[in-house]
């Protein structure tokens, strides 16, 4: 259970998000959407403890974020960041194995359990073949999959994704979301920053739309996904239909008509 209470996040004097209140229950699959600069990544950073809040608090299981030891928090929350460039030529296997760090004591080598977790994570993300290759020499899409494998090896009940499939081709993107969907059904709580609205409507059961430093809408996907709401958030004309296969909302954005620009 994640709860944000009057959460205000800022970089220096620039407030990005002000006074947010929401919670995410265990087992939810939440999409975090909004136009560029609306604070999606900032919110994830704040929830993950990477950016200390200006004011307000984040709670995990009722305990304030500041009271979690980093190691304990890393057993609760894993994160796949938007940028995951690695400076040093570790092998992909070594990178995934680092996901087991929160479970290791000093002087303790990785146990068979750790190795199994890392192998299973690589198998699930179809990165097993990348294991001996250097993380600095794989493509950005492959790197994204390896970092996702590391997050899965962390074996946490909560997973944060920041446009985690942005560099992936269509097949990989869908396979990853099918995997996430399966893991979600098994109980994994997922909070995902997404750019592709239609991917979000297909997989997320709840959407949080950010705009102008706050939450503009928060609710069940089909309720949030209306032409009126989307037009106001993205400033583009939206057409919402039913997806012919899944029956979920399917969004097209259209250029504004003549005379509408100043509206």
């Amino acid at each position: 259970m994640i709860r944000a209470e009057n959460l205000t996040l800022a970089y220096g004097d620039r407030v990005i998000l002000a006074d947010l209140n929401f919670q995410v229950a265990p087992g939810e699959f939440v999409g975090l959407l909004g136009p560029n600069g609306s604070g999606k990544s900032t919110l994830l950073a704040g929830l993950a403890g990477l950016l200390p809040p200006r004011s307000g608090q984040v709670f995990y299981d009722g305990r304030p974020l500041g009271q979690w030891r980093p190691r304990d928090l890393a057993r609760q929350v894993a994160m796949v960041p938007q940028y995951n460039w690695v400076n040093f030529p570790f092998t992909c296997w070594e990178v995934v194995l680092m996901g087991r760090y929160p479970y290791l004591r000093r002087f303790q080598g990785e146990t068979a359990e750790d190795l199994d977790a890392a192998r299973a994570a690589m198998a699930a993300t179809q990165t097993a073949a990348l294991a001996p290759r250097l993380i600095t020499l794989v493509s950005s899409g492959e790197r994204q999959l390896v970092v996702l494998a590391r997050a899965l090896a962390q074996a946490t009940p909560i997973l944060f994704l920041d446009e985690a499939t942005a560099s992936l081709d269509v097949r990989h993107e869908l396979e990853i979301f099918e995997l996430l969907s399966r893991l979600n059904e098994e109980g994994l709580t997922i909070l995902a920053v997404m750019h592709d609205l239609n991917l979000a409507t297909q997989y997320c059961r709840r959407l949080i739309l950010l705009k102008d430093g706050g939450i503009f809408r928060d609710g069940e996907t089909s309720q949030v996904c209306t032409p009126e709401v989307l037009e106001e958030v993205y400033g583009a004309r939206a057409l919402v239909q039913r997806h012919p296969a899944s029956g979920r909302p399917w969004v097209h954005f259209l250029p504004r008509r003549e005379g509408e620009r100043e509206a």
Binding site: P89, G109, R133
Partner: protein, 361 residues
């Protein structure tokens, strides 16, 4: 022992040492280190053959009486050469380990032990001491210079950390910039000292070049706590260094207390550097080139990298110091810092060529 990866596909770096090779590499480096030390023991202006030395040490161990010539020879061997070899090994090990740590923490292949202004601080402290008459012994046979150098290094480090803390939690870029600024400022102060006290110009210049000339046991004991303590800490934190090398956000998100661990490791690496520089002056290149070479051989995992770099650094600096002592006739010495840079530069170019640039990560 390396954990076996689910092995499929080709290894993309053919020269990387894997599996049993790592143990062999360590054993090989240790053998080279011992061979270098043995070789160095027989080189110097005071000619002592190996059989003669061996006989002397045997007699001494048995407690047999020595004539004056033999006693002098033994003293030269024990108080000058052995101490100097050990000191060169200690400094070489320390600078290499510190270099690995700085490159990993600062996420920068160009970082070396002197990036954070420790060298400039030590040089400034030493030049003040040299100018103000350093001949007086302060602690036993130890001059004022190592003390002043250590103090200067610590003050410079404190300045850099204070500057680096202004953007919060010692970000890499800020730290490097702070190091460059403090180094530049201290360098101009050193120039000022040289300008006003032209008499001590040459001693300052020679000190800054780095040398093990006229260093003995007392210098070894002076540097030992900093270098050994810092090195031990780095070796214990090898896994944390790996996480830091991924970057701040991933490291913290994987459960590392980034701010605290980074400060600890920065202090450890800086103390090693300060201790080494205080007794030997500024010996460049070892702390830059050894980490790169070893990372090329064993990969960036610091649990494997640090032991290899420690052995290689010690062997390299003992070898360089032996050259420094042996190249010129009549007991003249070339400052060892010149040797390391003279040999290191072209050698690194060669490595860059055969690895097609991958030596730069």
């Amino acid at each position: 022992m390396r954990k076996s990866a689910p092995a499929t596909g080709a290894v993309s770096v053919p020269w990387l040492v894997r599996g049993w090779g790592y143990g062999l590499l360590l054993a090989g480096l240790a053998a080279v280190l011992l061979a270098m030390a043995a070789l160095a023991a027989g080189v110097g202006p005071y000619k002592l053959g190996y059989p003669y030395l061996l006989g002397l040490v045997q007699r001494w161990l048995k407690g047999a009486p020595l004539d004056p010539a033999q006693a002098t020879a033994l003293a030269v061997f024990f108080h000058i050469r052995v101490a100097r070899i050990l000191l060169a090994g200690l400094v070489g090990m320390g600078l290499s380990l510190a270099g690995c740590a700085f490159q990993g923490i600062l996420l920068n292949p160009l970082a070396d032990p002197f990036t954070l202004g420790v060298a400039a601080g030590a040089a400034f402290g030493a030049s003040l001491a040299l100018t103000l008459g350093a001949s007086g012994a302060v602690l036993g046979a130890l001059g004022l210079v190592p003390l002043a150098a250590l103090l200067g290094a610590l003050v410079a480090l404190a300045l850099v950390l204070a500057l680096g803390a202004m953007t919060g939690r010692w970000q890499h870029g800020t730290l490097i910039l702070a190091g460059v600024i403090v180094s530049a400022f201290l360098s101009s102060l050193i120039s000022l000292v040289k300008f006003f006290y032209a008499d001590s110009l040459s001693t300052i210049v020679f000190w800054i070049m780095g040398s093990f000339s006229a260093r003995g046991w007392v210098h070894l004991l002076f540097a030992l706590p900093y270098v050994a303590g810092g090195s031990l800490l780095l070796l214990l934190y090898a896994r944390e260094l790996n996480l830091l090398a991924l970057g701040d956000a991933p490291a913290q998100q994987l459960g590392l207390a980034v701010g605290r661990v980074r400060l600890t490791l920065l202090l450890a690496a800086s103390l090693i550097t300060a201790g080494a520089v205080a007794v030997s002056g500024i010996i460049g290149f070892v702390g830059l080139i050894v980490p790169h070479l070893m990372r090329l051989l064993v990969g960036p995992d610091h649990r494997r990298l640090l032991p290899a770099a420690a052995l290689a650094g010690a062997a390299l600096l003992i070898a360089a110091d032996t050259l420094a002592r042996g190249l010129l006739p009549y007991g003249q010495e070339i400052p060892v810092g010149i040797i390391t840079a003279l040999l290191g530069g072209p050698f690194f170019c060669y490595i860059l060529k055969i690895t097609k640039g991958q030596a730069l990560l």
